[in-house]
């Protein structure tokens, strides 16, 4: 049954959105064997035999199948040679980078499985391989693309070594930490890794996805992708809560944390809830010397996709104000099915200076691009 919903396609295309910085781009491989070139022999063999092992029942597929082929890709993003969306740089340039005159694209490689791998030595090796692969296949051929340092969060020594090895390499914009680690990221066991990120001038990007083996919600496993997809917001909120309440930002005031692919409209209410609840429970977290919302304002940035669509489009403006227009950075999430097009993402015209910040200036400042 088709129902017409009021959802006008407002084209807000104006020159100021061109030349934007895309804070979430997904590169893919044409074949898993691509990583072999960057793996030591023993791990090549391991990859081909036992292979990657995650904390879920299915070895090679997602527990929550997506709604479109290629594990949730845009239907028109398949390159002419039939390889996976995002795996063909010329096609990515055609559909995204050149089309919109993108200034920089920040890569979020959700490939290789290094981040969630249970064999942490293999995971560390895969993370390093994916980092080398990003450079070889994407960042070196097209310097608009910036890599994200992959690590295996549970292998502290290797993670810190990898961060330090990539420090100063301006082809990498940030360290990508999987947001579903075994424990919430603010827990002290992860502080050495966060310290290494801060010490080496890397923002941390938390791109949703993966599994640590816990149910996606506190009430158990969703049945459908339909309720799995919005559970990413719940995970993002948990991360913000943990980072703030554990005092990470008191300890590392210069650490920048970027939340990727979680949307953002939920953040103001979380900040208010943190502040209000903290009032009665201050004694539990005496190391917090400021209100929780102040840490959110100091250390956390959000990317826009999947952008929420308020029922009254103008409510987007107040939502942006409540977060702080300087803390919001545009992202497409190319080439996923729910990606945002810079021309249509905002259903309300933005003031010109907001556009410059959201599409460009905020990311320039966060990532220190020239």
């Amino acid at each position: 049954m088709n129902v017409t919903l009021l959802n006008p396609q407002i084209e807000t295309s104006q020159q100021s959105h061109l030349g934007f910085i895309d804070c979430d781009v997904h590169p893919y491989f044409k074949s898993p064997a691509e990583f072999d070139a960057f793996l030591p022999q023993k791990w090549r063999e391991h990859r081909a035999s036992v292979g990657g092992r995650t904390r879920q029942g299915l070895a090679k597929a997602s527990n929550y199948p997506r709604m479109s082929p290629g594990v949730g890709q845009r239907m028109d993003a398949w390159p002419p040679d039939g390889s996976h969306p995002g795996s063909d740089l010329p096609f990515m340039q055609l559909q995204l980078l050149d089309k919109f005159n993108v200034a920089y694209g920040l890569l979020a490689p959700l490939v290789g499985g290094g981040a969630g791998e249970r064999n942490i030595d293999f995971g560390a090796a895969m993370a390093t391989a994916v980092n080398d692969w990003q450079l070889a296949r994407f960042c070196d051929p097209d310097p608009r693309l910036k890599g994200a340092v992959q690590i295996n969060i549970e292998h502290e020594k290797a993670a810190i070594a990898e961060i330090e090895a990539r420090a100063g390499d301006r082809r990498f914009a940030q360290v990508n930490i999987p947001p579903r680690s075994i424990e919430p990221l603010g827990r002290r066991r992860y502080w050495p890794i966060l310290e290494a990120c801060a010490a080496n001038g890397f923002p941390v990007s938390l791109h949703l996805g993966g599994t640590a083996g816990h149910a996606s919600t506190g009430g158990g496993h969703p049945s459908f992708y339909h309720d799995e997809h919005p559970s990413y917001v719940q995970s993002m909120a948990a991360l913000v809560t943990s980072l703030v309440c554990e005092g990470v930002f008191e300890h590392l005031p210069n650490l920048k944390v970027v939340l990727v692919e979680g949307g953002f409209a939920w953040l103001p209410a979380l900040s208010w809830r943190l502040d209000n609840t903290w009032k009665a429970l201050k004694a539990e977290v005496p190391f917090l010397r400021r209100k929780p919302s102040e840490y959110v304002r100091q250390n956390i940035w959000v990317t826009t996709q999947p952008i929420e669509e308020p029922e009254r489009p103008a409510d987007m403006l107040s939502t942006l104000e409540w977060i702080g227009v300087d803390r919001v950075m545009f992202s497409t999430d190319y080439p996923h099915w729910d990606q945002d097009d810079p021309r249509f993402a905002f259903k309300v015209p933005l003031p010109e200076d907001w556009k410059r910040k959201i599409y460009h200036d905020n990311a320039m400042a966060v990532y220190g691009f020239e």
Binding site: R187, G219, P222, V233, S235, A238, T241, C245
Partner: protein, 359 residues
């Protein structure tokens, strides 16, 4: 704002069971013997979600000298019933009996709780009403208990915790919804977790503060499940009240699930209507905690975004600490909405309240 001039209906009050021993007279003989044999009457079945001495759960001026806050009817009257001139208050028991793994033991204790509430609270003050406490791990036994308690019209709701073993929309729970809908009883989903799962996909937090904050997200998952599984399609007359969930999280939540539905609804073809429409018809929120923003102007915007005068229900959440003094109504509510929140919406949500006085 002090609501007493309205004689409000308080939709969330927590009587505390002083000790499990207090339930013994209300158990069947077999269970009385069984529990005593095992020494279980000495167990404190307090939920991890609500440590009774945490300041958040026990407003300092509501805390008695001995025992948990909320255990004394005299104090309940003094602190909220008489202070606010409440015409009714709905009692919601928060107790671990609901989440015990042994289904029969859980059901027996829940039955004891319901009998205890009737005898020691409902019988003693005509303003009091209660939710039916049910074993969350056995929908069949829960449905039986609903059938048993439904006869007593002072039971006005079925009480569930928002996070247990499976998301609450799943079909295994449908016997509960069937029984509730049949008797015109709303499902009250209260903040709290059985902690069969960690609070989020990213594991266990360190602090109670974090657990408590995350309840709002827990409710998002719960409500998403009710929607996607088609509970409101199968049980169109069912009302669901989200109790102690916070309020200001709600608009952004609706925007997100609406957008997901537009893109993903092929997976759940029974969902023919946009979620926010179903939500406004079937779902209600109690107002404490409100999770207030910084300004009254923001409150106004958020209420407009919630988009329904009928959504909010007054509650004190006694003895939890969400407001000081008699300031039980969140600041910034427009005057024409206040009366609805305090009286009309609760009456509309709980049809049993309107029934003439019961023996």
């Amino acid at each position: 704002m002090d609501p007493s001039s309205f004689q409000p209906i308080d939709c969330d009050v927590h009587p505390a069971i002083p000790t499990t021993r207090a339930l013994l007279p209300y158990l069947d003989a077999y269970w009385r013997e069984h529990i005593t044999r095992r020494g279980l009457e000495a167990d404190n079945l307090e939920l991890n979600s609500f440590p009774s001495n945490a300041p958040l759960n026990s407003r300092p001026d509501w805390r008695p000298e001995r025992g948990p806050a909320g255990a004394d009817l005299t104090l309940l009257r003094r602190h909220v019933l008489d202070t606010f001139r409440s015409r009714y208050a709905i009692l919601n028991v928060l107790n671990g009996a609901q989440i015990l793994h042994s289904e029969d033991l859980s059901a027996a204790l829940c039955r004891g709780i319901n009998r205890w509430i009737a005898a020691e609270w409902l019988d003693r003050d005509p303003r009091l009403r209660a939710s039916i406490t049910v074993p969350v791990l056995s929908p069949e036994l829960a449905a039986e208990e609903i059938e048993r308690c439904a006869e007593d019209k002072r039971f006005v709701q079925v009480l569930l915790l928002s996070q247990t073993e499976m998301p609450l929309g799943r079909r295994q729970y449908w016997p509960v919804y069937r029984a509730a809908e049949k008797h015109g009883l709303p499902i009250g989903i209260h903040a709290g977790s059985a902690q069969f799962h960690p609070p989020s996909a990213t594991g266990w937090f360190s602090y109670y503060l974090e657990d408590y904050v995350q309840h709002a997200q827990g409710f998002a998952g719960t409500l998403n499940s009710l929607l996607t599984e088609g509970v409101f399609v199968k049980f169109p007359k069912l009302r669901v009240v989200l109790i102690e969930s916070g309020v200001t999280w709600f608009p952004a939540y609706m925007w997100r699930i609406n957008k997901t539905w537009r893109g993903v609804r092929a997976e759940t073809p029974w969902q023919e209507r946009v979620p926010s429409e179903v939500i406004r018809e079937n779902v209600r929120l109690t107002v404490q905690p409100f999770d207030a923003p910084d300004t009254v102007a923001q409150v106004k915007t958020l209420l407009e975004e919630i988009g329904s005068d009928q959504m909010l229900l007054f509650s004190t959440d006694y003895p939890h600490w969400h407001f000081d003094g008699a300031d039980a109504v969140p600041e910034g509510l427009p005057p024409d909405l206040i009366g609805k929140i305090l009286v009309d919406n609760p009456l509309e949500t709980y049809p049993r309240l309107a029934q003439p006085d019961l023996a």
